[in-house]
């Protein structure tokens, strides 16, 4: 029948006989009549592999992917090149198909990779302890707030408006369950308003949450924010873009207690938003309050080096209602992609890549801001993403650019009422100077066309 079961008529006879029943139906007798589904599941009939492939390909072709246009979309996920070595490793059965490493003797590969991943994340963030990853970026921000609550029992969190809108929305959702109040701190010319932050700080603030670079692309003064927060004993949580940390100082070296973030840009595909992984690193004293899996080094019965899941008493399967989180698994396969990517980039590569993004971003920003009807939304230093202001309807401009095969970026008005004229443009190493020049050409034309015929609806 279906492709993946293997019971022949002969098997069935032998198996029913061994069980001591006359039919499969007898095995379901425990299900009371009142809750039985007395009809087949109403779904289209199953199809052979080639037909399903054709259907999934049809759907894929209805999407405009980063392969089909020159894209400058960012806003939390970025079109970086994924090296072939990652495809090869992530599709290996030995990494793709095991479960969580409950039996360490036969899971040393996965466990050692978690250990290497933790080492790489510690290096990148400048913090000594990392877990083996969590779901993804925004929920990692929410998880950090829970760690803050467990640590200092305070009930209020300050979050910068520069933090990703999805992270703030996720935090709002989860805080209801935590019994915490979330208070937003506004931006002052695209940076977290330090004066407003100081005014909002008090000794009942559990944590201050910021993002580096922030959603508008601007580099925050992390040290100043951390110092202000620590004066009141609040934890400092920083959501960081990991690929900027080759050129930007590690938040862990700037007084931050917990660094989290979205790991997609480290060797993971866009996948329309997931699966990817979230990273989560902290200072030593938070080791036992961390959520999620942690791999640790040990020795075996013969004294050989080995790795295990450790500090499991934090976790839900042991501590149950007192657990540090309800998270079960990490995103092991995606985190594998992350550590392989960081190893592939290497110590020099991550700096070179950061420098390349920095230079091209500067070039793009200056080139685009020089266009008629286009201005910088802010003048703050940026690394890989920047915000513009358009003197034309952003949505319509984006449509015109898309028609010319260029995805010009993210309309900030989708998340920020105050930036209805804002456009967020992201640069990766895959966007060359020629691509940027093409964007400038297309954007200039689109803005000009909109300004010329503002409001005119042209029939197809």
């Amino acid at each position: 029948m279906a492709g993946y079961t293997a019971v022949t008529a002969e098997d069935l006879a032998i198996m029913l006989d061994a069980i001591g029943v006359g039919s499969i139906a007898e095995l379901f007798e425990a299900i009371p009549a009142g809750v039985r589904l007395e009809r087949p599941i109403d779904l289209p009939p199953g199809e052979p592999e080639q037909a399903v492939y054709a259907e999934l390909r049809r759907l894929a072709e209805l999407n405009t992917s980063a392969e089909d246009e020159i894209t400058f979309l960012g806003g939390g996920m970025y079109d970086h090149y994924v090296p072939a070595i990652i495809d090869m490793l992530m599709s290996r059965s030995e990494f793709l198909t095991p479960y969580t490493p409950y039996q360490p003797e036969v899971s040393q590969g996965g466990l050692q990779i978690m250990f290497e991943y933790q080492t790489a994340i510690s290096e990148l963030t400048g913090l000594p302890v990392s877990n083996a990853s969590v779901y993804e970026g925004p929920s990692a921000v929410g998880a950090a707030a829970y760690l803050a609550k467990l640590t200092n029992k305070r009930r209020k969190v300050l979050v910068s408006r520069g933090v990703h809108p999805h992270s703030r929305a996720t935090l709002d959702t989860l805080a209801v369950g935590y019994g915490m109040e979330v208070v937003e701190v506004g931006l002052d010319d695209a940076l977290t308003d330090l004066g407003a932050l100081r005014g909002a700080l008090s000794d009942d603030i559990s944590a201050v949450i910021l993002q580096q670079p922030n959603f508008l692309g601007a580099i925050e003064d992390v040290q100043a924010i951390a110092d202000a927060a620590h004066e009141h004993g609040a934890l400092v949580v920083c959501a960081a873009d990991p690929l900027t940390l080759g050129v930007l100082e590690a938040p862990g070296h700037q007084g931050v207690d917990v660094v989290v973030g979205e790991g997609q840009s480290l060797g993971n595909r866009l996948d329309f938003g997931g699966p990817s992984f979230g990273f989560f690193a902290a200072t030593e004293k938070h080791l036992r309050s961390m959520p999620g899996r942690i791999a640790g080094e040990t020795t075996d019965a013969d004294g050989r080096r080995g790795f295990v899941l450790t500090l499991q008493t934090r976790e839900q399967h042991i501590r149950r209602e007192k657990a540090t989180s309800n998270i079960c698994t990490s995103q092991a396969l995606n985190a594998l992609g992350g550590v392989v990517y960081l190893s592939w980039l290497g110590r020099r590569g991550i700096v070179e890549l950061g420098e390349l993004m920095l230079q091209r971003t500067h070039y793009a920003r200056e080139t685009l801001a020089a266009l008629d009807g286009v201005d910088k939304l802010h003048e703050r230093p940026v690394v890989r993403e920047f915000a513009l202001r358009l003197d034309a309807d952003v949505g319509r401009v984006l449509e015109r650019c898309a028609a010319a095969g260029v995805n010009a970026g993210y309309a900030l008005g989708r998340s920020y009422d105050e930036y209805g004229d804002g456009l967020l443009v992201a640069i990766t190493e895959q966007r060359s100077r020629a691509d940027i020049d093409r964007l400038a050409e297309v954007l200039a034309a689109a803005v000009a066309a909109e300004r010329a015929g503002a409001g005119a609806e042209v029939a197809a």
Binding site: R288, Q312, T313, I318, R319, K322
Partner: protein, 127 residues
């Protein structure tokens, strides 16, 4: 791990905790039975000096690899000392539960509470 023992000079609480009272100060720990049930102790999460403990309530946690247990106070009082050596050597709770594995010292607020605890023989009878 040492063999089972329940010294005569201690008082016992039914949740497998012991107290040794000298000059109004009591030392608390867990019994041989408790540490054996728990297995190899890997972490002792101590309370703070100056905090108060209440008889029958938890004042600390001990962890093995796959379990967490509350440590119950046999008597009420205020903690004046915690065994800081357990941070680096929690195995003392297994190896020497009545000696190096002690957990806290407490000034008792109601010494008469001790009358409600068991002697060694009575406690062993409950096991």
């Amino acid at each position: 791990m040492a063999d089972a023992s329940y010294p005569d000079d201690l008082l016992y609480h039914p949740d497998h905790d012991w107290a040794r009272i000298q000059d109004g100060v009591a030392t608390f720990g867990i019994t041989w039975f408790a540490q054996d049930a728990l297995g190899e102790v890997v972490f002792f999460d101590p309370p703070e000096v100056g905090s108060s403990v209440t008889a029958g309530e938890s004042y600390a946690e001990v962890e093995s690899v796959k379990a967490v247990s509350d440590v119950i106070a046999p008597l009420t009082g205020e903690i004046v000392e915690v065994n800081t050596t357990l941070a680096d050597a929690p195995e003392a709770i297994n190896d020497d539960p009545y000696g190096a594995g002690w957990m806290v010292r407490v000034t008792l607020s109601d010494p008469a509470q001790a009358d409600g605890l068991m002697d060694s023989e009575t406690y062993v009878g409950t096991l």
